[in-house]
Symmetry: C2
């Protein structure tokens, strides 16, 4: 089935927004053995939209549109599809009642503009929106396009996801082909082309699989897709043997979830002292439900005072060695480990740039990572060139991967 | 000029990646008074790619491709454009030398696969890549398409950005039309359609401007675009007067940058005690260069022990009131303010879900925000339904916006 995503909104052509809806839908499609062959984004421009709608009707069997169903002046996806399909719009009393109910339960007056959301094109089926005011739409058995389906979702991710799960996915399940399975290996602290070279022979050996390799901010993903589960299993064992400790996880996991699992498996706890990374390691870990079991807490020790007050360092000790130094980073980890009575503690100091460090020999991009554990403290000195945002995320990933390796030793 | 973005890579059609390159390019185009009319993403599929390349040649005057220039087996953007344009590939000695130099300066052996990156199609101009191994390509004065330009960039954002700034933007500047200026107002803690209703009359009054309204995780952007600076300035003063304290900032700013500016303007400092938001407020603030001036530091008080050790709360006090409660949140803010000697301190507790709170009446989505300042402590009790990730970000934004309002009072 040729499936196409169309994300609608001028903001998606500017720097103001990224279309994340189609990313989520892509995963749900993959689970059904389906995939997008194309994704497009167009603005709130009637001519561009009409042109793309007509193209899509010719090349795709399932057209999934998100956005432009809202109550505001720049929302007209539904009206335009109705035009393209010559379908008049008629008010749907149930939908109008739902919209009124939506505002009533929130004790908010219903802005009159919301009632345009109750207009449904003749021939389309309304998809109810239990958590928002904009209903979705579904066309099947289109005159002239019997094999084509069109689905319109609101652009609000929460609403789209709920409507997809309850009302659209069940129908697609019936149409889905043989499920395509994915083998994903997440690899830490090794470059993309180095990994490509290292696994070239294995890729040859498992050439029947559809491979891709993706690098991002210090992490690399090796992905193989196939309908043949046995072939994927054979590739998995070969790759896991080759990658060894460099492999973070196999499957859909993340680096932070892997670290939490390691701690939970040992029933051990973690404390953090983040200077350079400013809370990013904690934010990644706390994004995972149940992270409070292993994560006792942490400190964002962004000043000498915070390093003294929260991690117990002596101010003159910091002055002597400089903030971005091995001794201070080691002392932060060991101090926080004792302070929070944790089995493990990690500290990160560094200079994310853009300015060079004033009180020490720490060019922008330099970092020190200290992991204090039951058997002592290990140090990693990192360096990443680049923009502040990149340096911060790469250093965050490097720190979590270093912690993962320390936990495995 | 009709400008089209094409992002290449099967990963961009899966849940593994989002194309952020075109988002950055869109901003640079806007500064030149240019804009995308369409963005597409296609996979590493020669047929789909060839089809899109041919479409784009017909409808666009500038085609900007990112991705598929790497050394690995799934990179063939350059080869395919060469095919479409009937241009043979020839090795470019300078580029080969650059690639060898790139690896030499990093003391890494050059994988032979990288040399395919030195092949340049006849008729195309190589764009050198000072920070990576993949050169870009530029076609001008194409036989058959005299008014069409094609630019190929590597998919690595840092490399693409550097090459855009140094080698592509200067050429576009000459072609650019009258600059389009943008008025952007960022608004906090008010719903999209409520804001739409509230500003409907003003939008009428300033109907000559091209308006859009965008909501995301508790923040709303009002954006107007025009070549007429005076019209934008008139709209700005009307909107700022109407929005009052609900306006976070005007221009390209962010909520976190606005809060830091407020603190710097008063030469005051901030400390944080994050339970629910787990370091997200700190991560947003520390993303801004120079944030260490105002941000003394913070604690991720994810356990009762951390609340006691880092913010000085008595364990039985926490047990009495429950973690997610007004008294505990107030005590965290006031305790951290004293501990770090800051002018202001903010604490956030809550239950991000998915599970209900065990030790208190805190359904998933509940939050308490306390801001302790020179004139006392203010409390906000928030509630957001939804997924953990959304709840965490909405609560992070609500906390920063509450702090902003407290700073203005």
């Amino acid at each position: 089935m040729r499936i196409e995503a169309i994300a609608i909104g001028t903001e998606l052509l500017t720097s103001a927004r990224v279309d994340t809806n189609s990313v989520w839908i892509a995963q749900r499609l993959a689970d059904l053995g389906l995939a997008f062959h194309r994704k497009s984004a167009v603005g709130d421009d009637r001519e561009d939209l009409r042109g793309l709608f007509l193209e899509a009707l010719e090349r795709s069997e399932l057209i999934i549109c998100t956005g432009g169903l809202g109550p505001t002046f720049d929302d007209f996806t539904k009206e335009l599809w109705a035009e393209v399909l010559n379908a008049p719009l008629v008010e749907h009393p149930d939908i109008r009642a739902q919209i009124e109910g939506f505002f009533r339960t929130r004790n908010r007056p219903c802005p009159p503009s919301n009632f345009k959301q109750a207009l449904i094109p003749v021939g389309a089926e309304a998809l109810s929106n239990p958590i928002g005011s904009a209903p979705g739409l579904l066309w099947e058995n289109l005159p002239g396009y019997p094999d084509t389906r069109i689905v319109l979702f609101p652009g609000v991710p929460r609403e789209m996801k709920r409507m997809w799960e309850d009302q659209v996915e069940p129908r697609l399940r019936a149409l889905a082909g043989k499920p395509v399975h994915t083998l994903r290996l997440l690899v830490g602290s090794i470059g993309e082309s180095a990994l490509d070279e290292r696994t070239a022979a294995l890729r040859e050996k498992h050439g029947g699989l559809d491979w891709s390799i993706l690098a991002s901010l210090g992490l690399v993903e090796l992905v193989a897709r196939s309908t043949d589960l046995e072939a994927l299993a054979a590739a998995q064992s070969d790759y896991e043997a080759e990658l060894g400790i460099d492999r973070i996880c196999t499957g859909t996991g993340t680096l932070e979830a892997t670290v939490l699992e390691q701690l939970n498996r040992r029933d051990q706890t973690l404390a953090l002292a983040e200077s350079m990374t400013g809370g990013r390691v904690a934010a990644l870990l706390t994004g995972i439900p149940g992270s409070s079991k292993a994560l006792v807490g942490g400190a964002v020790v962004y000043s000498a005072l915070a390093k003294a007050e929260l991690a117990g360092l002596a101010p003159d000790f910091i002055a002597t060695h400089g903030t971005v130094s091995e001794p201070v980073t080691r002392a932060l980890a060991e101090g926080m480990r004792v302070r929070l009575g944790a089995d493990w503690a990690m500290a990160i100091t560094g200079n994310a740039g853009p300015e060079e460090d004033k009180d020490g020999p720490a060019p922008a991009g330099t970092s020190f990572i200290a992991v204090a554990g039951p058997a002592g403290t290990q140090i990693l000195n990192g360096f990443f060139p680049g923009e502040r945002a990149d340096v911060l995320l790469r250093s965050t990933h490097q720190a979590l991967d270093f912690l993962r390796r320390c936990l495995l030793r």
